[in-house]
Amino acid sequence: MLDTTVDNMIEEKPKIIARDVKVVYGDKEALRDVSLDVMDKTVTAFIGPSGCGKSTFLRCFNRMNDTIANCRVSGSLIYDGQEISAHDPVTLRARIGMVFQKPNPFPKSIYDNVAYGPRIHGLSKNKADLDGIVEKALRRGALWDEVKDRLHETGTGLSGGQQQRLCIARAIATEPEVLLMDEPCSALDPIATAQIEELINELKQSYSVVIVTHSMQQAARVSQKTAFFHLGNLVEYNDTGDIFTKPSDPRTESYITGRIG
């Protein structure tokens, strides 16, 4: 009894606190007054139909929206006790890693792909140290056994699922605290998807994972918390089980039963 309370208390500590976040592209409002807490050591899923703002919201967390010229973010996003806009984007992105929709390995060797982040952030003291970091990241990315004999072959030569796991390994090589995943399985077949989902399950032991997905089944399988977005609004945010069994908002119910979307 006591154990579970302590456990709950740790889990309940929010990693990122979003309050009234609003995103505008040019004069088009993409996201309207979204408030939610992202928990530590939890998988949080963002679901919703295309164009509902879920990816936009995800990209606020590591300031990837900065790279889009006419995009403006307002409201409050607090990470590590500080506004995200006050963080230096370089260190912020080292601590909040990201995996993209399409596998995007650099046209370099597998080793250099994983070593990219540690190198630019100076995380290793010497070659042996870097080797260790690369191996650890590839092991956690569940790719080590498949590639350990060909670390110096190009990363673009791997299969789609392997490429995506390489990208995950690359993202966790910088030891981030939060891992953002923007539809990481949308370009993969069911077997590769299952591997990635298993990997996400492993990763939540040490990270807070936020995953944007089109697949409600995937959200149900991997996440503990689910947020449903619709037309730029956060409709409902709750435990995944509750969202899928007893949604409180009629729009959520329509979406998960397949009536809208």
Binding site: N62, M64, T67, A69, P89, V90, T91, L92, R93, A94, G97, M98, F100, K102, N104, P105, F106, P107, K108, Y116, G117, I120, H121, T156, C167, R170, A171, T174
Partner: protein
Amino acid sequence: MNSLIVFNLIVSVFAFFVCRAKASRLREKHTLLVASNTHWGWYGFLNVFIPTLVLGVLIHYVGIYFINSGIRSSTALEFASHAEYLLVKENVNASVILILDEISQIRFLSSFIVIISYLISGIEPALLAVQSGTTIEHLDLVVLALKTKIMALTATLVLGVVIALMQAQRSINTVSANYNAREKVEFVIISLLGLSSLIAVLTTVGIVISLLSETINFAMMHSIVDFLFGTVWNPQFTSGEVEGYGSDLGILPLLWGTLYISFVALAFSVPIGLYSAIYLSEYASDRFRSIAKPVLELLAGIPTIVYGLFALLTVGPLLRDSFTQPLGLGSNSDSVLAAGLVMGIMLIPFVSSLSDDIINAVPQTLRDGSYGLGATQSETVKNVIIPAALPGIIGAVLLAASRAIGETMIVVLGAGAAAKLSLNPLEGMATITAKIVNQLTGDTEFESPETLVAFALGLSLFVITLCLNVLALYIVRKYREEYE
């Protein structure tokens, strides 16, 4: 010929409309036709036009063949050489044209008029009229040629009319539901398209063959070893000496000049072009880019002769006055450096525009991936974008190099005409292209090694740039595949 074409066109157009109308009438009766009405129209048109055209051309050449063999077998003349025969042929043809023009003063429907007036009064009046102005050489041959010509014209016209009408009748009768006129029409269209693409290819082949044959001519008059490995370029234009001696025609000094100037040009244009491409595609604001890129591409449209003038009148003297003379290095305004710099300026937009396209082709997802790992913009450019774009950039540099090697006007005006093997960039040097211009301009005898060497030089240049282009295309293509 022209009367036939006019008539031919009239019948063809007539066949077009009749066939189309017939097809449309069939369709109104709810018959399902394999070909559309327009296809039927074109079927009629082509069915008339092509056979009559082929016939006209055929008869024209048969006529010419008879005239030529008549001249050749003429017993009155013994031709000493082929050239003499060509000369007589030329004269006869000119006279024939003169007389034909005399018979028919107007161009339109001239062959029709020629035939009619021949039938009425023969050729004597026109012959006399021309003879009153000038004397006609080889009169018997001219009369023979004229008669053959008029016979050919008559045959063309009569046969043409008959065949055109027959074909028109036949195509109109063919119009039916099941006959696939569409296939025939499309075959003609495809043949035309294929022919167009063949013309470009065949022209290139023809150029190469003519270069090759003249080079072989050159090789027979002058040692090819001296050409390929000789270190002295010193053509003698003094006639009367024993031909082929006296001249040293080694390509090496010219090759050296070409490569040296190209190297200076590339050393100048590649870094600047590349940096400007990186700035434009990665850092510049949209507004700056929208102005700078067209301006840069405008530079690429400046004719090279203008750059040549710039090298001759501005850069060369500037280098001489501010650099060469004050330092006591000489008094040349023509120099490798001046030509190289100006050529470099010419190549900047070329390198920059190609590199810009290549850098833009690097997928945005790679940039996102790098930014997502916390890389700064310059780290991303250095570690991801340049490596990803490198094969393409190398291809662009090779293309620029082949342009530099083939560039002519800038080096003719800016680099001087002295062929030498020297390391000093402030001296003038000659390039392969400049020497080709030199050897072919001026009053020289064509069949001499000094002139024919231009073709050997041209072939060498062609081989070098071809190799560079093939290499560049290979690299660029290989790179494209990586992201598809």
